[in-house]
Every structure is written in structure tokens, then in C-alpha cells.
Amino acid sequence: MPLTVKDLMKMEGAYLPGSAACPGCGLSLSFRIASRVLGKNTVYVVPACCFSVVQSPMPLTSIKAPLLNIAFAAAAAAASGIKRAYETLNKDINVVVWAGDGGTADIGLQALSGAAERNENIIYVCYDNEAYMNTGIQRSGATPRGAWTRTTLKGKEEPKKNVPMIVAAHKAPYVATASVGYPFDLIRKFEKALSIKGFRYIHLLSPCPPGWGIDSSTTVEIAKLATDTYFFPLYEVENGKLRITVKPPKRRPLKDYLSVQGRFRHLSDEEIERMEKEAINWWNHLLEMEKMESIL
């Protein structure tokens, strides 16, 4: 039986109100929901990112769970060690990395790759707000092509680094993309990740009102549009078998997603058309991969 809102209400989450997150933060929303599914038996590891700030200044924290803040490059390595220590002590505890896209796609990539290759028994979550946000919006490897940041004033020229597929190429037992635009898909993927042993990776698209130039009320709506326009498809790869988990009945034009965000406002119609072609191409690739027994 899939979890319902009523079930979630009865489950204790690890997020306390009154944190340092900006209004409408996609990171706090997804953590609030996911921490309920992950449950009390969970330890978090967080590299430098917005989440380090969101926790609030010492000596208080808005996160009601054991949590280790660690250096940018080290989250997956620290989590591997913590999990092994618990296993040595015969303690069954979920160890979960909760990292931003900078600490995942750029600075933390080698530790992530190492842990995935060793098939460490941890869950790695990347909440992807598509830039270094808490330091003032600098581009990351996960910033999409075309997006304005303070270091890509005319829009980023290079495409977004496809981290979920990089992790899938390690033959990790479970890789998924998710977002708060489809909360029950997200919830199901966390449940599934919990039921699997080995390295599990969940890549969350995480709308960020100040960094994306969007109204704080539109976080959920924009996350949904990202999927409905094929800009951020929701899929999972389980032991090499790929499945698209949300298939919008009708694709929305990419313009609907881009035109409501300040970071894309400078784009010309030709640039939008090019980005739309790229998105449709990737969607078609996914459809092809879905037909295969295994993509690896």
C-alpha cells in the first residue's frame, strides 16, 4: 500500500519550523517529507551547502536527528565510514547523505563515485538547486544550459552534468530522480530506496526562489512544470532496468517553464527552441532505454 497524506501525518519528521531557509525553499520541503519516510532510525551527513545554513546557527539546530556536517568533498566518504562502523557494531541504522549539487556534481564527485563503486550501503540524496546558492548564486556543473548565475551573466553555455546517469553507470542498485512537483512519486522512491541494500542515489530537483528568480509561492508548481515540459524527467533505474515513473499525458511547451523564472528571462526564442529540442531528445532517449532489459 502506498503511503497517503494521513500516514505521513502520523510519521515523525526531522524538520522543525523556524529554520534559516528562505521562504518557499524546495530543499526544506523535500527534507520535511523525506525525513518522515526515512524515519527515526536515520543519521544524516551534510557537506557544505544551503542545508548547512538552513540548520540554523549554533548552539541550536532545526534538524531533529543526528547529523554530521562535513567538508565539501567528504560527504560520501564520511557516510561510508559511519555505516561501516554501525555494521561492525551490528546496528541497523540508515546513513543518508543530504548534499547540494555543488557538493555532488563538482566538489564531492570523487567521494560519491568511490562510494558508488564500492557499493557502500548508504543512501545519497542530492537536492539540486542548480547552482551554489548560499554563497550568492554561482554556476555549478549541475546548472542547466542557458541559466543566468552571477558567474554566467549571459547564461551558462555548457549543458547540465547528468549526475544520476553517472551514478547509474557505476551499476548502483538504485538510482532515481524526483521532485516536490510530484510528492507521491518522491515518497515512493524514498520507500523503495529504504527497501534496497547497497548504494542508492536520489537526485531531487529543488526549486530555489532567490536563485531562480521565482515567486516563493510557486515552488511546487515550477517543480511540476519541470517534469511536464520534459526538462526534468522523473525516472528510476533498478539494477540496470530503467523506468520512467511519471509520463505527463501531454508535454507542455518548455517556454511555460522558462518564462516564469528570472534566470531564464534573457533567452531568445531560438535558444529556447534549442533547449526544447535537447529536452525532447533526452526524453526520447529515456523512452528507448525503457525498452531495454538493462541499460548497462
Partner: protein, 87 residues
């Protein structure tokens, strides 16, 4: 008493309002019209701040609600209106 008094371990304690009474950040506040509410709990599920209280009916925790407006956007019956805060 193994640890010396001067040794400060960098450990934080969980607390509500660890960044203060974030309700004061608000420019608009969500007001729920219970006549229109059908108790679907979408507002509870999608509030980023955990400030919709799930009693019999949804209630806003105005001490910490940051006024983002997500709840008003996702409510299917438009039972939530964002009203400008006054001094």
C-alpha cells in the same frame, strides 16, 4: 565529569525557532477559510516550513510561518488567501 569545562564541543541542540521567530519575516499571511476547506491536507503536505498544524482542521502556526504562499497556491478549493500583514 570526564570532559573539561572549557572544552566546547561543536554540537547543536534541536529546537523550534532555531533561527528565531521566523513569522516576523512575513509580508503576507495565509488565512484559511474553513467553510471552503475540504480537509485534503495538500497544504500540510506541501508547506515547506512545517507550519500548517494538522488538528481537526488545518491551522497556521503564525509564530514561524514565513508567508511563502505555497499553501495558498496548492489548495484545490482556494480556501487559503494571502493577506497583507499590517503593523
Amino acid at each position: 565529569m570526564g570532559l573539561s569545562e572549557e572544552l566546547v564541543l561543536p554540537i547543536s541542540r534541536p529546537s523550534k525557532g532555531a533561527s528565531g521567530r521566523t513569522g516576523v519575516w512575513r509580508v503576507f499571511k495565509p488565512v484559511i477559510d474553513l467553510q471552503k476547506c475540504v480537509k485534503c491536507w495538500q497544504c500540510w503536505l506541501l508547506c515547506p516550513e512545517e507550519t500548517i498544524l494538522a488538528d481537526d482542521v488545518p491551522k497556521v502556526d503564525y509564530d514561524y510561518c514565513k508567508g511563502c504562499g505555497v499553501c495558498a497556491k496548492v489548495c484545490p478549493t482556494k480556501a487559503i488567501t494571502m493577506v497583507e500583514e499590517r503593523e
